[in-house]
């Protein structure tokens, strides 16, 4: 090669006079700028961050344990902290009255009457029921706590007398992760098959496409039910959790795989892929250096958008009694108790897990929207 010239022809001099300095930002930064522009996506991601933190620190946020029952308070309505006592005096510190629980001999209904003599103040960051975080950090510190015999049930209790507020966060641990685990599985499976089919084509592509077509033609819920019914009842809760994730992803990977295949199929004919081929780049190099980086952001978008379906799937399965089994709990399982109209009328608080389902799904959809904007940083 020729050494860099001392006298350069004018085709070279000045060719780069005016590079625009503002354009010197990486693709990643461009994507972040795009994402930030979508307000809803930002809100969605903040909500999700809080939800996942709450799920991790479920033991800390809930005043009672997962399996802690309050025999005298089955199906209790919310018992909220109060600021004003019976005499109308205002107190800065929230407090509760202890409740006398009696069964009305005539109606067999449980009647709660407050004992207004003693105020039990709500303690913040107080010691209470022991729990573990992430399976290994032992603690008994709670966000708030009242001394026995007083109780605080922010969202009431179920018919076994378990605090719904505490159980919702334990349920979140399952409901919010089953989607992630399921999506990761279908991501791996779907991406591998999608890339292989889209890039190499041929018989493998034909066969895998037909299988996917059959798979996505099935009505989802019956297919889920059939697969979930295959899970041996003897399996432990954790095994069951992963089995449910696999069931969900088995139904879900096909759609993802098709989209990946479509993208790879289009990119395969892009000039830069052809240029790489003319530079004798191997298939492995073309896939890992050219196709994957240019599809990855889209794949993540598709994955994010399919998480809500997984959460709903788990909720549906558990609601129907074929998903998560006690003693584990999930939002679907919590809602399982609210199957009868009678329950809904008498204990409407049992429906609150549904609000969490809705909030998480909307947030994931908003996040997906924002990621979709970000995935195409060069579009207008």
């Amino acid at each position: 090669m020729v050494a860099s010239g001392d006298i350069m022809p004018d085709s070279i001099v000045g060719a780069d006079l005016d590079t625009v300095e503002t354009d010197v930002i990486s693709v990643r930064r461009l994507m972040w700028l795009r994402f930030k522009r979508n307000r809803l996506a930002l809100i969605g991601s903040i909500v999700l961050v809080f939800m996942y933190l709450a799920a991790i620190f479920a033991g800390f946020i809930g005043p009672y344990g997962l399996r802690e029952t309050h025999e005298k308070f089955p199906a209790s309505p919310p018992l909220l902290p109060r600021f004003v006592d019976e005499e109308g005096n205002f107190s800065f510190r929230p407090f509760v009255y202890a409740m006398e629980s009696k069964v009305d001999p005539a109606t067999f209904k449980r009647i709660l009457t407050p004992n207004t003599e003693v105020k039990y103040y709500v303690h913040f960051f107080a010691r209470g029921t022991p729990y573990t975080i992430l399976g290994f950090i032992e603690s008994d510190l709670h966000l708030f706590h009242v001394d026995e015999p007083a109780k605080v049930f922010l969202l009431g209790t179920d018919k076994q007398g378990r605090d719904l507020f505490s159980r919702i966060f334990y349920g979140a641990q399952v409901s919010l992760t089953v989607g992630l685990v399921g999506v990761s599985l279908s991501l791996i499976f779907g991406t591998l098959i999608g890339i292989a089919g889209g890039y190499f084509g041929g018989l493998f592509d034909d066969v895998s496409q037909r299988i996917i077509e059959v798979l996505i033609s099935f009505p989802q819920i019956p297919l889920w039910l059939a697969l979930a019914a295959l899970i041996p009842p003897t399996w432990s809760s954790v095994q069951r959790f992963f089995a449910i994730s696999i069931v969900l992803s088995l139904v879900n990977w096909g759609g993802l795989s098709r989209q990946v295949r479509g993208m790879v199929y289009a990119l395969r004919e892009e000039d830069y892929v052809i240029a790489a081929r003319y530079a004798s780049a191997s298939d492995w190099r073309i896939i890992t250096r050219h196709l994957l980086p240019n599809t990855l952001s889209h794949i993540l978008v598709i994955a994010t958008i399919s998480i809500p379906a997984m959460i709903l799937g788990e909720t549906a399965l558990s609601f129907l009694g074929l998903g998560i089994q006690p003693p584990m709990t999930s939002w679907g399982l919590l809602l399982n108790q609210a199957q009868h109209t009678r329950v809904l009328i008498q204990q409407p608080w049992l429906l609150t897990p549904a609000l969490f389902v809705v909030a998480s799904i909307i947030s994931f959809n908003f996040l997906g929207d924002g990621l979709r904007d970000a995935a195409d940083p060069f579009a207008n």
């Binding site: 085709s11 070279i12 060719a15 930002i25 892009e270 830069y272 052809i274 004798s280 050219h290």
Partner: protein, 340 residues
């Protein structure tokens, strides 16, 4: 016309057909002859301009020559620096791997020919890495040198293509094609996506590099003024076939095919004093799946006679080194570029 030993590429009767299928069983009912019996050769250190209107098969011909597409028939003999004469149409994978060091391509659209997720270092360094010619610091040095050759600052090598203008991106594409120090470059409309003032810079760069590295070009374009400027020889394609081939001066000033004359008359001249009344040729490009009988150009040809509608004219040497596919090539006296 040119001594065999000094020819870098010889394309003989190259064909690329696409089957037209019909019905559930995908029965082949015909062919689109995208490239049909194309023959030309490119002497070393020269540029052959391949012109034609959209859909005439010039880009397909380029990719078939590069063996990005499998030819249906014909030969593509490349005189490789190391291997000697190789027929690319039938070459095996190993041979192709070796030959591609010496032949590269520059693409039309500088936006789609550069991977947006790769830095200049990765883009230009890719061929060097694949051929294990350099890595680490040496790779960085080689890429820096290549960037200097195409007029970009080496400091830019960690930037992404989107930070550059169209003209600069085309320079990046040229640097990538140069990385392995090839003998021959296929340039597919390298300036048609660029602005007028950037086009001249890019054409000059290609010419400078040709002198510097003894390159030969197959230059594909639809802009006849650009082709005239850069080419030593010109071949004209119409619906998959070569209709005329000669050295640039003779083809532009003394065309032997009525289609070439029609093309030359259609060029808008940047000169308001020339006559604005140059009756352009009538009609439309035919559908390549269903071309006319006989000479493909006869329905639009002002000189067509009965013979033209049923007999296909072969590409014949009308004068030494001047080939035309017209029954009346030696009888017609057609107007050259300056006669309009």
């Amino acid at each position: 016309m040119v001594d065999e030993g000094r020819v870098v590429l010889k394309v003989q009767n190259l064909k690329k057909y696409y089957p037209i299928t019909a019905g559930l069983l995908r029965r082949v009912v015909g062919h689109v002859k995208a490239v049909d019996d194309v023959t030309f050769s490119i002497p070393e250190r020269t540029t052959l301009g391949l012109v034609g209107e959209s859909g005439c098969g010039k880009t397909t011909a380029a990719h078939t020559i590069m063996r990005g597409l499998e030819p249906t028939g014909g030969k593509v003999v490349f005189h490789d620096r190391q291997l000697g004469a190789v027929d690319l149409a039938t070459a095996d994978k190993d041979t192709l791997y070796q030959v591609r060091r010496n032949m590269q391509m520059v693409f039309q659209d500088p936006n789609s020919s550069l991977n947006p997720r790769m830095t200049l270092l990765d883009l230009i360094g890719e061929p060097l890495l694949v051929y294990k010619q350099a890595k680490g610091q040496e790779l960085i040095d080689r890429v820096a040198e290549l960037l200097k050759h195409v007029g970009l600052r080496p400091e830019y090598m960690r930037r992404f293509p989107h930070a550059f203008s169209g003209g600069q991106r085309q320079r990046i594409g040229i640097a990538r094609a140069l990385a392995l120090n090839p003998q021959f470059i296929v340039a597919d409309e390298p300036t048609s996506a660029l602005d007028v003032s950037i086009q001249a810079q890019t054409l000059n760069l290609l010419q400078d590099l040709q002198d510097e590295f003894s390159l030969s070009y197959l230059f594909i374009a639809h802009d006849l003024s650009v082709v005239e400027h850069i080419s030593d020889f010109v071949a004209v394609m119409y619906v998959g076939k070569l209709v005329e081939r000669a050295d640039t001066h003779r083809l532009y000033h003394n065309p032997k095919h009525p289609y070439t004359e029609a093309l030359l008359s259609s060029i808008p001249r940047p000169d308001p004093t020339t006559s604005k009344k140059r009756a352009p040729i009538k009609g439309e490009l035919p559908d390549p799946a269903n071309p006319p009988t006989g000479c493909y150009f006869h329905p639009r040809c002002p000189y067509a006679e009965a013979l033209c509608s049923h007999e296909e004219p072969p590409l014949q040497e009308v004068e030494p080194g001047h080939y035309a596919a017209c029954h009346f090539a030696d009888k017609l006296s057609l107007r050259g570029v300056n006669d309009f």
